[in-house]
Structures are given as C-alpha cells and as structure tokens.
Amino acid sequence: MRESEHKLRSVIDHSSDMIILTDESGAIIEWNASAATTTGLQREEVLNRPIWEVQTELGTPERRALISLEETRQMIQQALDTGHASWLGQLSESTIQRRDGVQRTLQSIEFAIQTERGHRIGSVMRDVTDYQQAKAALLQSERNYREIFNASSDAIFIQDAQNGAILDANQTALDLFVCSYGEALQMSLADFSMNTGPENQAVMQRTIKEVMQNGPLRIEWLARKKNGESFWAELALSKVELGGQSRLQVALRDISQRKQTEKELFAEKERAQVTLHSIGDAVITTDAQAQVEYLNPAAEMLTGWTMADARAGC
C-alpha cells in the first residue's frame, strides 16, 4: 500500500498536467508542481484553502465580475454534496490570471470522487495557451490568405501537384472560367486547357514538376472556359505550403487583349517594313541618340552604307 501511494505521488508530482484535489469540505489537499508553475501559486499557499476561494483569486477580472465568490462556492458545494453537477465530466476551457497579470488558458476536466464522508472534487488541467495562440495565429494567417486569395484580380487555383486535382479556386477564377465552385473542384487544370493532347499534358506535368522542385515559373497558356471559349492566359506557377501540404498555386490572368495588341503591332510593323522596302524614296530612322536603326534599300543605294553596317556600328 505504501509502495502504491509512493508511485501515485511520483506520478502526480511529475505530471505535466495540473492535478488538483479537494477534500469533502472543498479544501485543497492536492496541488502538484505543474499547478504551482502554471498558476504561480505555491502548494503551501493553497493547501487547506477552499477551492472556490483560490479559483476566484485566479479568475480574470471579467470572470470575477460575472460570477461572485459566493456563487462559485455554491456551485462547488452542490457538487461536493451530491456528486453531481452539469460541469463534472465535461472538458472545458477557461482563462486564469496570475498575480503577475499574465493570463493562461487552461483546458480542464473535473470529476467527483465518492468517499465514506461525501465527495471530493478532482481536477486535471492542461495549459493550452501556447497551443491556442498558435492555433489563433494559424487561423489568422489562413484568414489573411483567404482574403488575399479572394480579393485577387488574378484567377487563382490551388492544385494537388500529384494528381492535378483542383482543391480550391477563388471567385475571379470562377468568373473567368464561367463555372461554379463545385464544378471547379471536380476538374483539373487540364480541363481548362485547349491543348488536351497527351503531349501537352506531358509538357504540363513536366512544368509542374519543375515548379515543385525548382521554384516559380511563368508561362503563356491557351486556356478554355467551361463553355468552350478559348483565351490566352499568363500563368504564374508557384509552390505553396497549405495545411502542412505542398500545393501548386496557379495565378492566371487573361492576356488575350495583350496578345491581340502584340499581333496587331507585329502586323503593322510588317506592313511598314514591306512598304519601306518597296518604295523608291530613301528612308533612314535613328534612335534618340542619333544612331541609325534602319535604312531601306533605297537609302543603302543612296548613302553607300548598308543595314549590316548600321547593325555592326550602332
């Protein structure tokens, strides 16, 4: 029996959880080292004091304003008398405030122990402050990401790099591809491509692999809306860590207008070149630094200098 008690004592003393026990009158008879470290109240300070008194002392100002010492006493007294209370056996979270003003969040479960003289109340508590702060930071980070994700004027897809499945899509993506969120999640990027042949799929797979291994890439891509309409898009592919998983982020913008402008500019330049080449007048253009950029054949004949001379010298 003595050996068993010694083992139990050792477990309580070395537990990283706070272990608190009252006698049948509500006086604290157990307050382990972890309880002392977490609350800042030493074992000697709290032993034999009523649990409601210590609990109230450790309450935050908000909690003390909400529940008085007497109400706390009555609540615990009822559990001591009957062994029953709505809060017994329930996992709950509460915040305490230490004497130094530091607040800690505790997760706890209280239970009644029946004895010959009535009931004792036991409590096992765990300091979850750091976990809660990390969780809150993660939530905030995800909320921030979600806000940026949805506010982006670029269409963004989050894709499983392994199987190509779309895991998430922002509103801009849904608007651009004229599909619902549910439909997008049933598709892969290949479904949004005009080039669906096996060769193009292989190119896309290689590109994704490169992004996941070596970092971001930008490519131009002929995209297809759900209604079959096609458009040129610029894709910024990057690897992102979401929920502890490596994912492919695809930020996409419609560059049809830019492509069209480039095409028109090229055509216009071609027309100008052909015209300049065919006319009989000598034409020379210079840049802002007066370096010759272009001589048409008539100018070459007239000046005795050639475009090759111009390219070599300018």
Binding site: D281, A282, V283, I284, T285, T286, D287, A288, A290, Q291, V292, E293, A299, L302, T303, G304, W305, D309, A310, A312, G313, C314
Partner: protein, 91 residues
Amino acid sequence: MGGKCNPLEWGIAGPDGSLIPQTLLPYRQVAQSRQPLYDTRCSILRPDEQRVHLAVNAAPLTDTLGDVQGVVMTFEDITERMQGGIGVARE
C-alpha cells in the same frame, strides 16, 4: 567601318559645301524642336568619296508621352539638279 553608320560621321555639308555643325543637323533639329523639317538641303560623303546632294524631310518619332524616341528621314537625291543649278535656285 561599323561606327560610320552614325550620320554624324557622314560628313554632312550644307549647300555651300561647308560642314553643318552637329546641333544644326536635320535630325538634331527635329529631335530638339519635335517639329518636322521639309526639303532641307544638304550633302553627304559616300564611302566611295562621292558627294551626294540630298533633299531631306525629317519627322520626330515620339512615344505615348510625346518624348522623342528617334527620327525618321526621307532623302531625295538632287545631285543632278544641284549640278544643273536648279537646286541652288530653290535655296
């Protein structure tokens, strides 16, 4: 040879045969004033040392902000006319 594609090195002379100062070269004037020039007379020295008389039209090439990005020039060979005295009369 390559560097001679720069018009500055073409030995550009006015109708009287004297070299035109750089600041008064047609493309310089156009680049500075942003205004086109029409039928300006000058001559250049070809690589074969032959002097060719020219009537030059020049206009600035500007970007969307109106800044001069270059100059486009058209040339008409008026050597024969100059030798016949017609060009001189027009000056």
